[in-house]
């Protein structure tokens, strides 16, 4: 410290010039290195994959529609849950129905936006079986916070079995309460928005419920898939998730019981 205060202004400026120059060169080298590293990483991440599984994901306010285009059999349509075979690359074709959303499963891949009028693609591979949580990462309106989904990676055989099961129509009601529940579902406006294959309900505004109970969560990751949660959700969706597009359909307690009982059997 003493030394620098004694230096003449000219000498100080010269020293400073050398120091600053060196630092600038170092900066250039570092950012060049980082750019190259970034380039290499991009190459590695986007390396082409052989014969990926194709899954279509369509985002809506505030849930995800997932379609598996028919490989020997009808398309499988589900919601808020993406089952994939572990170890096999998956090509996810992204589209948006209303506003911009963003598909983000932090543990599997970076984000990719779903943009109305444009088609984006994201390729990811789950190396190990497991459950990976995903969430919308682009602000998309009132319930942006509650727009989660689950990626479930399974061994290929389990995935194939699941897929075959999903291709089937909904199971017939097991008992009288369930039969009554299905009847209520068909009489009330539920079918205007929801599809349950094997029944009259063919609406497309809301999630396909054919195999509702096979999913882990309800209302885009908000609630666990239990009969109680189903009843609560049907009874008052606007309190649980304000602003969402599911209206409250007035039901008597018995009707509510029956509908949730029936839905809970749709595995």
């Amino acid at each position: 410290l003493r030394r620098r205060s004694r230096a003449t202004p000219q000498a100080a400026d010269r020293h400073a010039g050398i120091a600053v120059g060196t630092a600038c060169v170092a900066t250039v080298l570092v950012i060049t290195g980082l750019t190259l590293a970034s380039y290499v990483t991009t190459r590695v991440i986007s390396a082409g994959a052989e014969a990926p599984l194709v899954v279509r994901v369509r985002a809506l306010q505030w849930w995800w529609e997932v379609t598996y285009p028919g490989e020997a059999g009808p398309d499988v349509v589900t919601a808020n849950e993406i089952r994939i075979p572990a170890g096999r690359p998956v090509r996810i074709e992204l589209s948006a129905a209303d506003v911009i959303h963003s598909f983000w499963v932090p543990n599997l891949a970076g984000k990719q936006d779903l943009i109305p009028g444009r088609d984006n693609v994201l390729t990811l591979t789950a190396r190990r079986p497991g459950q990976y949580r995903g969430q919308c990462a682009e602000f998309c309106g009132m319930q942006h916070a509650h727009m989660a989904f689950m990626v479930i990676a399974e061994p290929p055989e389990a995935f194939a079995a699941w897929r075959a099961a999903q291709q089937a129509d909904s199971a017939a009601p097991a008992g009288a309460e369930e039969a009554f529940g299905r009847q209520v579902f068909e009489q009330k406006p539920c079918g205007a928005c929801h599809t349950v294959r094997g029944t009259e309900a063919r609406g497309t505004n809301g999630p396909d419920l054919t195999h509702l109970a096979s999913r882990a969560t309800l209302a885009a990751g908000m609630l666990p898939m239990t009969r109680g949660a189903l009843a609560a959700w049907i009874a008052d969706p606007q309190t649980i998730k304000p602003g969402n597009n599911m209206p409250m359909v007035p039901l008597t307690p018995a009707e509510l019981q029956a509908v949730s009982a029936w839905l809970a059997t749709l595995r």
Binding site: C24, I31, S38, Y39, I115, A137, E138, F139, G243
Partner: protein, 636 residues
């Protein structure tokens, strides 16, 4: 007395005291309400501008606290999602459009004419107009928010969420018109500053002797001029889509959703530098005073600022890395985003060299500069991280980014700004702010800021997305969020202490004297606070640090008239005297013009025809503005 001032009397004919009296009679703002509404004094308007901007900072801060209250616990129900979305939108919009950009321009409105040694800003009436427009824009946004009509689409207003189909009601229209108000005012100030700096510098203040804050404002003003039209075009297109059914952003009819993002970020990225460059300029201007030596690397600093200005127009794409850009372009975008690290680095190295070879005096403004160094370097490092595409696709729109840009904007701009307020406060008011309280403020803000925002990096890495009104219990983000919220309260306390100190010192602070810090630049060559005419005789500049070279004697230029408002026009490069020019007197017409424009713009939220009938009062007001009133200044 008045009889003795004859026509065509010059400042060289008078002794100091009668000169002061004569100039005051010509330059003082009239007393009373009329004077307050009609003033064109850049110092009055600048003070007003600064105060208003800090009020919006406080309002925006309150909203931040509300958000932190809501987020302190998982699944909290303090705020409804609708209210939360309005709050984060109004917070962002206020901070960007009503605080950060205006406060930097406001500091320039006050300081630039003093620092370049002239008597008033160029186009003082436009300056008055720009303040009124800014005020109305701020009232519009906040008024709408208070009656539950605040925009709820984020400060970036992405379509289609902000479009006619999903942005119901008038909330988005209010946001878009608020843009129009603040952009008009920002553009007007930018024009004034460009012309003031290029043409009104004191004789001898050639380009290599301009104070670096003034250089920064010149570059900033050019960025504003080139960048803000983009958001004007965008918001106009949005209003047209919503109001008269055009299809700019409607993919079903050939429009494009990403067009909005291109236009918005073509403005939005330079916006960051519009906020950051003035702060850089403040540091370069304040630093030499507290290390007792001239800045090291004047020319590299100027060129660094210019190159930041140029680069800022090439970087908008880096806000769109997740929208599905061409894969092959990613390396180009990464490289150009990282390139900005070089000019930023040059600046930091030059400052460090200046400190290293100087003799630092640890007063409050300097403490803020030190706080700046740490936070800004941190923000710069995370900036390099988000510049890398593969990394950014993970970090984008997560709390990591929230942390990053608060480090850049608060650390990079607000800390230097507060340092600047402590530094120039004696010039603004004639009184010092408290050194003791100032050190507490600096320390408290620095610590609380880091406690508040550093954990957000971690939250982002844990996967917490931005703009969520709540999160679920099983995500495990609760503990950190609670910590962040508590720190935010401390941060708010720091700001409160700052406001207290400012208000108290304005009345009871120690009297400052002309040049309390022993600084080198021209604003300290006149009284504190400066008289209405700024300089009795215009200073003459012979070096980059005029007050350090002239041993207590100020070389001045004489010969301007004292019976009317007159200032000096000099050449662009060498600042050689070129002509004398009259400067306008106070007038109420800018206020009428602002009100007429307000009627037009607000009316057009409701019906497109407002543009037609609203044009009539605007035209009348503008004719009133420009029609000569027979004063000496207007007839010359």
């Amino acid at each position: 007395m008045s009889a003795r001032i004859q026509d065509d009397q010059r400042d060289t004919d008078l002794a100091d005291a009668p000169l002061d009296a004569a100039l005051r009679r010509v330059w003082d703002t009239p007393r009373g309400v009329w004077g307050a509404l009609a003033t064109v004094d850049h110092k009055v308007i600048g003070r007003r501008y600064i105060a208003t901007a800090f009020v919006f900072l406080a309002f925006g801060g309150v909203l931040a606290l509300l958000m932190r209250w809501q987020l302190a616990r998982p699944e909290s129900r303090v705020l409804t999602p609708d209210l939360y979305n309005q709050i984060f939108t109004v917070h962002g919009t206020s901070m960007m459009f009503l605080f950060a950009v205006p406060v930097m321009e406001a500091m320039a409105v006050y300081l630039v004419p003093l620092m370049v040694g002239t008597r008033n800003i160029a186009f003082p009436r436009l300056n008055a107009f720009s303040y009124w427009m800014y005020l109305v824009g701020g009232i519009l946004l906040w008024g709408a928010f208070l009656v539950d009509m605040g925009p709820d689409i984020g400060w970036f207003a992405y379509v289609p969420l902000a479009g006619p189909q999903y942005g119901a009601g008038k909330r988005v229209d209010i946001w878009a018109q608020m843009i129009t108000f603040t952009e008009i005012s920002a553009l007007a100030v930018a024009v004034e500053i460009v012309v003031t700096v290029l043409k009104q510098r004191a004789p001898g203040m050639s380009l290599d002797r301009i104070p670096l804050f003034v250089w920064a404002m010149l570059v900033t003003s050019f960025i504003i001029i080139m960048a803000m039209p983009a958001v004007m075009v965008a918001s106009t297109a949005l209003i047209l889509d919503r109001l008269v059914g055009t299809h700019f952003f409607n993919p079903a009819e050939g429009g494009d959703v990403l067009l909005w993002q291109h236009l918005f970020w073509f403005f939005g990225h330079p916006e960051v530098y519009i906020i950051f460059l003035p702060a850089v300029g403040m540091i370069s201007s304040i630093l030499p005073t507290f290390v007792r030596r001239p800045i090291f690397g004047y020319l590299p600093l100027v060129l660094a600022m210019v190159s930041v200005g140029i680069l800022s127009f090439g970087l908008w794409v880096h806000h769109m890395f997740t929208t599905g850009l061409p894969r092959l372009g990613e390396s180009f975008f990464t490289a150009s985003s990282m390139a900005i690290a070089l000019p930023s680095g040059i600046q930091i190295f030059c400052w460090l060299a200046t400190i290293w070879y100087g003799r630092p005096v640890y007063r409050t403004p300097f403490l803020f500069i030190l706080a700046f160094f740490f936070t800004f370097i941190m923000g710069g490092m995370t900036g390099v991280m988000v510049a890398s595409v593969p990394l950014d696709t993970q970090l984008h729109d997560s709390y990591f980014v929230v942390a990053h840009f608060h480090y850049v904007l608060v650390g990079g701009a607000v800390f230097p700004l507060l340092g600047g307020v402590y530094y120039w406060f004696p010039k603004f008011t004639g009184r010092m702010m408290s050194e003791r309280v100032g050190k507490w403020v600096a320390g408290l803000l620095f610590a609380a800021f880091n406690f508040t925002f550093f954990p957000m990096h971690v939250l982002g890495l844990l996967g917490m997305p931005r703009r969520v009104y709540t999160y679920q219990l099983d995500m495990g983000w609760g503990g950190l969020n609670l910590f962040v919220s508590l720190s935010a309260v401390v941060l708010a306390a720091g700001f409160l202490l700052f406001f207290y100190d400012a208000v108290r010192s304005a009345r009871h602070g120690e009297p400052a004297g002309d040049n309390p810090w022993g600084a080198a630049t021209l604003e300290w060559a006149t009284a504190s606070p400066p008289p209405s005419y700024n300089f009795a005789r215009l200073p003459v500049v012979r070096s980059a640090n005029p007050l350090w070279e002239d041993d207590g004697v100020l070389p001045v230029a004489g010969g301007l008239r004292v019976d009317r408002r007159e200032l000096l026009v000099t050449t662009v490069g060498g600042a050689l005297p070129e002509a004398r020019e009259s400067s306008p007197r106070p007038t109420i017409w800018p206020l009428w013009s602002a009100l007429a424009t307000t009627a037009l713009l607000l009316g057009s939220i409701l019906t497109p025809w407002a543009v037609v009938w609203g044009a009539v009062p605007v035209t009348i007001a503008l004719i009133g503005w420009f029609w000569p009133g027979g004063r000496k200044e207007e007839e010359s």
